[in-house]
Amino acid sequence: MSFLSVRNLSVSLKGGPRILRDVSLDVSAGEVRGLVGESGAGKSMIGKAVLGTLPRALQIDRGKILLDGDDLLMLDPRERRRRIGANVALIPQDPLTALNPSRRIGRQITDRLVDILGWSRSDADARALVLLDEVHIPDAARVLRQYPHELSGGMRQRILIASAFAAEPKLIVADEPTTALDVTVQKQILRLIREMQERHGTALLFVTHDLGVVSKICQSLSVLYAGKVVEDTGIEAFFGGPTHPYSAALLAATPKYTDPEGSLMPVPVDVIAQVQAEVDAADAGWV
């Protein structure tokens, strides 16, 4: 049974257009699922819906978000927050704004362990040291006393990864965790996330627009277009030959080093038309 199961989730702007259209996806325990799509396809919104941090302007029209078998949307807010806090964590996109600038690194990692999960301070402090070691930060004791601005972007992303794994969540939502980083750092961070994921056996919902990243880290993926899942498949099957023409076009659009000019091609117009027709068809039954 899958740990996270999103069923027919529909989200729309209050009194406005639909953002997510009957999205269904599953993440099994220990599985890494990629979530790809163009900008504005709604991939981050799925992550936010799962984490309970959807912007105020959006509303969930229908659907279920089953976490370990219980529908989060049916729980009262306090219980929902508790469940999410205990089981799910976030690796945010931008390491520069994801750490509180006025507080020391150590406290930012240990605070939620102590305040919310009820750890003792000394346990939490020891845990932070172990975690920083796991994400290969040298001189961890000193870094824990520093402020975020004293560290580089790559270092901060490592800390955020360590922080996400701190409470041993069963699921981590990674919202484009490498997008804001330098390409050379990206590779290290990606390898690190994979290493941590394997060590802790955490399920990962990996939101990205980079198919190269997907091929390195994911076991399965969902392709999103205009808030609709157009393909849901295993990683070998996808890179072997995607079934949906839009996925095929996305794959074909990935630039290749061997042919930088010819390989950079946009998604063909007729494919867009077809996938848009599917979206419209899905909307036809929507009141």
Partner: protein, 294 residues
């Protein structure tokens, strides 16, 4: 590996860094003036050379000590009723400081709290508070103050109430904007995901980042409070005439400016230096508190 030490209390290295970091004239010059002022105000009954209320027509309009005709014991001269200017200034400093500290702090507490709630919670609390701010700011402040005093009567408490009622919007507006920016940051989302309540997030994540701004505004507000008190004294709406205030002295000195300019000029200088010191102190403190700037 050494014992983990992650307390927020400064370590030795931090303390050394703080000492090495130049405090700068921006902090110590205003600090010096304000310290002198506080000492003068607190010990006024002991250091004041004369009774600030004692009138004596034989000693009226004495010039300050470096001019001809000055009398010992009247260092900064006397006014037309023969009252010692220095003594009156020292007692006036008491009123000025009480108003600055009490009115400043109360304004800060009320304004910053409302601003923080509006900026972080958004939704209907923000609607109500923001509309309130808009309505409030449409009133001309001095007129509003005079009106208010006319209704609730004069006196120290009235002045403080007037300042708080009029000026809370200054804090609310700035803090709201700042809280909104901070609220959009990813670390707030992370705290929410971790299961922190909204209220606790506001206090632990948002407040520390807004604090440097609040401190800067607070000292600025103290300066403004001193000025407002002086304005109200000037139009005779402050404390009763038998307790000396800087504004009252300026107002009285205005009449005899050609015969005894010192009655007007010395309180004016004190007022000017105090307000300037407070605003400079605010800037300096903000730089000092901000972990990114320092």
């Amino acid at each position: 590996m050494s014992e983990p030490k992650m307390s927020e209390t400064p370590t030795m290295a931090d303390v050394r860094g703080m000492v090495r970091r130049r405090i700068g004239p921006r902090l110590w010059l205003p600090g010096l003036w304000l310290t002198l002022l506080v000492i003068g105000a607190v010990f006024a009954p002991w250091i004041a050379p004369q009774d600030p209320l004692a009138q004596d027509l034989f000693t009226s309009r004495l010039p300050p000590f470096w001019m001809d005709g000055a009398e010992p014991g009247y260092l900064l001269g006397s006014d037309s009723l023969g009252r010692d200017v220095l003594s009156r200034m020292l007692y006036g400093a008491r009123i000025a400081l009480i108003v600055a500290v009490v009115a400043g702090t109360l304004t800060c507490l009320i304004g910053a709290t409302l601003g923080l709630i509006a900026g972080f919670y958004r939704g209907w609390p923000d609607m109500i508070i923001s509309r309130l701010i808009d309505i409030w700011m449409a009133f001309p402040p001095v007129l509003f103050a005079i009106l208010l005093i006319a209704v609730i009567g004069t006196g120290l408490t009235s002045i403080i109430i007037a300042i708080v009622v009029i000026d809370w919007t200054r804090f609310a507006r700035v803090v709201r904007a700042e809280a909104m920016t901070q609220g959009a940051m990813d670390y707030v989302a992370s705290a929410q995901v971790a299961g922190r309540s909204r209220f606790s997030t506001m206090l632990t994540e948002i407040l520390p980042n807004v604090l440097p701004t609040i401190v800067a505004l607070l000292t600025l507000e103290m300066g403004i409070a001193v000025i407002v008190e002086a304005i109200l004294s000037f139009v005779n709406l402050s404390i009763s005439t038998d307790s000396p205030t800087w504004g009252g002295m300026i107002s009285e000195g205005r009449i005899s400016i050609h015969q005894a300019w010192w009655v007007l000029v010395f309180p004016l200088i004190a007022l000017f230096l105090t307000v300037l010191s407070l605003s400079q102190l605010g800037e300096g403190l903000r730089d000092h508190f901000d972990p990114v700037l320092r």
